[in-house]
């Protein structure tokens, strides 16, 4: 977790970006980069979530 940002950290970053855009405290110049970053974060989180989902499903399948 030291090396790789956790899901939660990424969600926090994502939330911050969205809030900045919402507050219009971001310049248009940075905007594209930020949006790109947000997209990247979302993708990363999705993949983490998918992995977790799969893992959980496997565990649950074994369990029942």
């Amino acid at each position: 977790m030291s090396k790789k940002a956790t899901y939660e950290e990424q969600i926090v970053e994502l939330e911050n970006i969205i809030r900045e855009i919402e507050d219009e405290s971001i310049s248009v110049d940075e905007l594209a980069a930020k949006v790109k970053r947000a997209a990247e974060l979302i993708r990363k989180c999705q993949s983490v979530l998918q992995a977790t989902s799969k893992e959980v499903d496997d565990i649950l399948k074994d369990m029942l």
Partner: protein, 472 residues
């Protein structure tokens, strides 16, 4: 003594001397004088003194006060009269005239030379005796009650089994036979021991006879369970002895329960009333004894039956109960495991449901909510920026156009000004310019006569000379 006696003699010393007969005669005369008629007298028959041989009766009469004899007199009942009186008594009282009875009698008092004072009973009123007997019975009961012993015998313990019975009876009596025949039919006859105490059960001697028997029993009373007084075949007469206070008191105070079977009386005698139990007849008393044996035997049999049934029934009941415990143990044990299993299964289902729900929710948040928010935020920002740009463009357009317009206008103004300043314009309207030495003449004072002036017109020039100068 009267001097009219026929048998009197005179002595020399003056003493009067009479023969005995003279005296008795004289007494007889005096008695007849003093007691001329017949009198009704009450007294108690202390002793009847009936002489069967002669049929005469010489009752000894007494009067008592608080138990002491205060008067005593012998009477006489002639045999024929005695028979009449007895008949009346038996029919009225159910009892013959006997010792101890209170009587109301009609008599003649006399004096007999041979027998002395004579009380000749002519009649006796049985109704009085009957009343007296009832009174005495009541008195006896009252007395016993006052002494607090009326129910004493009733409170003595009567054993369940009357195995040792002291019997007061007569061996040859019907009562004794009846009693024995009932007992002989009893299967427990061997367990019953009878001891006979013979006694007179009716008549003058009965009270003392029975009291004597009771005394004898008393000596060995520890060997007995009860006393039975049996009288049978004696008819309805001679029962007045059982109203006797002394006998009744003895029964009351007797340490053993006393049972009576003395036959049927019109009225319940005192003894019957104070005895532990009155069975009326010897047969009934015998049944009373055997019934108790039967009852005890029945109780014992019932107890034995119950013991066998219950003891054998109780344990199968317990075995059955254990069987039930076994079943319920199996039931609750397996049920508990089943329930826990269900609970665990539910828990695991719950885990699945909530985990999936969490993941779905997170996925939704990540895939829809956050991107939507991002898009929305961006759109709002873009719209704001576009608005700024649009505004700038508008401002630019407005201002640039305005500047152009203003410059065109200003240039037009300057052009007009130049046009107006152009002399050609003035000349066309009929004005002309006068020049002196090439310079426009602006004042008449600048001129002197003889100057050559050049006049410029719109269409050409002329030259002229100044002749005169006139000042205004």
């Amino acid at each position: 003594m009267t001097s009219t006696s026929a048998a009197q003699n005179k002595q020399g010393d003056g003493r009067k001397i009479f023969p005995l007969s003279k005296l008795t005669e004289s007494i007889s005369v005096q008695m007849d004088k003093s007691f001329p008629g017949e009198y009704w007298i009450t007294a108690e028959v202390n002793k009847l003194n009936y002489y069967p041989h002669s049929g005469n009766c010489h009752p000894a009469l007494v009067e008592k006060s608080e138990g002491r004899i205060i008067a005593e007199l012998k009477a006489f009942i002639q045999s024929g009269r005695y028979r009449e009186i007895q008949n009346k008594f038996t029919s009225t009282l159910g009892n013959s005239l006997s010792d101890g009875m209170q009587i109301l009698f009609k008599c003649k008092v006399g004096f007999h030379s041979l027998y002395g004072l004579t009380l000749n009973i002519i009649d006796i009123e049985p109704a009085y005796t009957l009343g007296e007997m009832a009174r005495m019975r009541l008195e006896a009961l009252k007395k016993l009650k006052a002494e607090g012993i009326l129910d004493t015998n009733k409170s003595v313990h009567l054993p369940l089994l009357l195995r040792r019975i002291a019997v007061i009876s007569v061996e040859t009596s019907k009562g004794w036979r009846d009693f024995n025949s009932v007992l002989d039919a009893c299967p427990f006859r061997n367990s019953i021991k009878l001891t006979l105490y013979p006694a007179l059960l009716q008549g003058d001697q009965a009270v003392s006879s029975i009291l004597g028997a009771l005394e004898n029993i008393h000596i060995d009373h520890h060997q007995y369970d009860c006393v039975a007084i049996l009288r049978g075949g004696g008819g309805e007469t001679g029962l007045d002895c059982y109203d006797n206070y002394k006998l009744a008191k003895a029964v009351c105070l007797f340490p053993l329960p006393v049972l009576t079977g003395i036959g049927h009386a019109t009225n319940l005698t005192v003894v019957e009333q104070v005895a532990y139990g009155n069975l009326i007849t010897p047969t009934a008393l015998g049944r009373f004894v055997t019934d108790r044996f039967d009852a005890f035997a029945e109780r014992l049999m019932a107890a034995t039956r119950s013991l066998k049934n219950l003891s054998r029934g109780l344990l199968p009941l317990q075995v059955h109960k254990l069987e039930l415990y076994k079943n319920s143990l199996a039931k609750v044990g397996q049920q508990r495991v089943r329930k826990s299993r269900e609970l665990l299964l539910n828990t695991s289902r719950r885990v699945e449901v909530i985990v999936k729900s969490l993941l779905e929710q997170t996925t939704a948040s990540l895939s829809y909510q956050l991107p939507a928010r991002l898009g929305e935020a961006y759109r709002r920002l873009a719209i704001a920026q576009t608005a700024i740009l649009d505004k700038s463009a508008n401002r630019l357009t407005a201002q640039a156009t305005a500047i152009c317009r203003e410059r065109i206008h200003r240039l037009a103004f300057l052009a007009e000004k130049v046009r107006l300043l152009d002399p050609a314009h003035t000349l066309k309207r009929g004005y002309s310019i006068t020049l002196n030495n090439g310079k426009p003449v602006k004042s008449v004072n600048d001129l002197i006569p003889g100057d050559t002036l050049e006049t410029i017109f719109a269409e050409g020039k002329t030259t002229s000379t100044v002749n005169t100068i006139k000042h205004e």
